[in-house]
Symmetry: D2
Amino acid sequence: MDERGKKYLIKEDKDFHSDFGFIKKEHLEKSEEGQILKTHLEKEFIVLKKDVNDYVELMERKCSIILPKDIGIIIAYTGLGAGSIVVEGGTGAGTTAIYFGNVVGSEGRVTSYEIREDFAKIAENNVKGFELENVRIKCQDIKKGIDEKDVDLIFLDLPKPWEMVEEVKKTLKNGAYLATYNPYIEQFQILHNILKKNGFKDIKTVECIFREMEIKSKGTRPKTRMLGHTGYLTFARKL
Amino acid sequence: MDERGKKYLIKEDKDFHSDFGFIKKEHLEKSEEGQILKTHLEKEFIVLKKDVNDYVELMERKCSIILPKDIGIIIAYTGLGAGSIVVEGGTGAGTTAIYFGNVVGSEGRVTSYEIREDFAKIAENNVKGFELENVRIKCQDIKKGIDEKDVDLIFLDLPKPWEMVEEVKKTLKNGAYLATYNPYIEQFQILHNILKKNGFKDIKTVECIFREMEIKSKGTRPKTRMLGHTGYLTFARKL
Amino acid sequence: MDERGKKYLIKEDKDFHSDFGFIKKEHLEKSEEGQILKTHLEKEFIVLKKDVNDYVELMERKCSIILPKDIGIIIAYTGLGAGSIVVEGGTGAGTTAIYFGNVVGSEGRVTSYEIREDFAKIAENNVKGFELENVRIKCQDIKKGIDEKDVDLIFLDLPKPWEMVEEVKKTLKNGAYLATYNPYIEQFQILHNILKKNGFKDIKTVECIFREMEIKSKGTRPKTRMLGHTGYLTFARKL
Amino acid sequence: MDERGKKYLIKEDKDFHSDFGFIKKEHLEKSEEGQILKTHLEKEFIVLKKDVNDYVELMERKCSIILPKDIGIIIAYTGLGAGSIVVEGGTGAGTTAIYFGNVVGSEGRVTSYEIREDFAKIAENNVKGFELENVRIKCQDIKKGIDEKDVDLIFLDLPKPWEMVEEVKKTLKNGAYLATYNPYIEQFQILHNILKKNGFKDIKTVECIFREMEIKSKGTRPKTRMLGHTGYLTFARKL
């Protein structure tokens, strides 16, 4: 991070270049967390270990991503934890896969299906860059079947999640969760019907209207800019 | 869970009694997940492994608890994951400690400070009941000092979190997060000032307005009942 | 209004009785706005001229009513003002008719259709009690036709407002507005389609999430209790 | 309005020019509401009588304006109607004055104080353009005193509305309302205290989170763009 608070992802085997000057790879290799490095322009940079939020902010993405507020609610409402086994349909840039991988840890596993080769490649690079060994991207159509068994959470970011309900039922453990993310009302309406017909329980659809506060010398108020809507989250349980 | 969808926490070394009849402990001991047991009244119960949401719903609590929507946002916004080291101030019934313990897993650790002995006892029982070995409740005033070092996340559910800012700074790793939960606007206003003075970065206060949808044969709509406000979440980073 | 802030609707030709004692009709008749009257128990009451909010709060109603927040948005979004001609379908207890009547004044006119005789009677009494001479309740099925012509605003609080669209088009002035109130998403979806087919313009559906703040010595915060949803308002213009 | 739905304010004594061609003033003078006029480019325009929403949308404004959603809530919560007497502090471009003038009609009156000469001039032109004879703009500092008496509503859009509370009390009728609009939390906090000390009743502060729905062939959803916050409305009553 530079003096302005701007963050950079660093590869230790290359010299680092920025508009604030460059740092040689020898110095990067020897640096430790919290250490301050100077560029040839005498600008200061602080060395930090990337966390999942930094990383997702800086990694490559060619498609819209699911926001942390929605990912957090998925984690809490499905009781995701260290050791959980997750299957995802619709990897995109890999944002959710990376968050999930960060939570399930070395005893857990995340398998994410992505039909588009370009997205799968980006996601795979992103996962590798965050050094997650428990996340696997499959460039494969999830509608043709889920290879995994006894899964704790299936998360679908697909336009027609209802097409997967029977396969989801076969794949989930007893008591385990399906979670879906969809922008449109029609999508969760159809999904609810199909879930009910397939005996899923605790079906609910929620939405998080997320507000950030502004605290300035002029006064305190909710920020003027706010996202009106991201997506609806639907949860259901195989019981 | 009985035929109505009502859930129960079971101890295997005791007979189980309910208004739907009883099941002997011998049957409970031998049962497996997904199995169906019948009471002496021929009512069916399905055996399920408790997950964190079931558990928190059913465990004893003598104080108001933080809702999953807010816990989820804390997890996502602080990048909490398997292996993280967490310190909490204000255990209450142990809800957040249990969610955090579930996420950080066996390689992580949660230490939670609670000044009130009655709450600490309830929380300890709750933690034990969920078989979390990585969560420790300390019946101790956190304002007298935090024993832990190099912590990834400090979460404070205290009326005056600003009193802890200097101690928090000493305890957190570089790049690590403070998160606080407070119902009142005045609280995050004071906290922001103190955090800025102490050099914390990325300070933000957010709120999640949580809406559940109702999907009935009559039509689809947001539910009439909704919580108007739970608490403000403030995040800050030691950099 | 008594010393506790509780309000009462008074008829001048009857003695007034309350749990704070009674006041004779002779005193009521002679009283003026702002004057303080004492009951035989020496309790004080202040005499106030009822305004539309007081009145709607205290009047008889046997059905759910539309809230001021939604009525206000209808008034502003349709540019309702003194002299406007309004037709309403679905009077209920007469709340909206009374608010509209209050705004359009002696040069305007509100005609409200109500199919249920019991509601029409309650509404008529309520209108009379507020001394509005520009509001007329018709106990008549609006689906059989609207008698009025060249109307500035048609407001429909009906389960199937789309059945009225052609009649609405015939009844409205050029540039005038249709406004509808419906709790369900399916309702405004169907309505949008029919409105478009009939050439209506500026079609929009909005919702007002209404939040009240709590300012106490403990601190300031949004109130815990909040209505999650009342209804969707749809506006369209005949152009 | 042209074929694209774009609206224009027309002066009958001048030729009308647009990127769709021009129309001679002789044709404008003779035209009637609902009539279709063609430009020299054979483009069609429909003649409409301006309503308050059209007008406010098109009129000149050099400062931020209060939105209809907030104006509507002020009207409904203060029971504003035909014949009401209104005083406003802080005219701005005259938006609220025009809406209020439209509601109170020829039997009512709106007096609006604006300290800045440039704003007062714009507002005066805007009021004249909408042909409101019941609205008067005073280029005068409202803090030096309110000339009017027995007022039904005082609306203040001032940074420090609490400085006016005593004067407001003198000016309002018994039972009448003060309404204020302020973006910051600190503002309504101070105001509440001063209002209480001055014996005002029914003090409340509210906020309207306004959401518009999007109905497209792809599906229905709340719009992505939404204002996070406009202002807090505080209401109080002199009793």
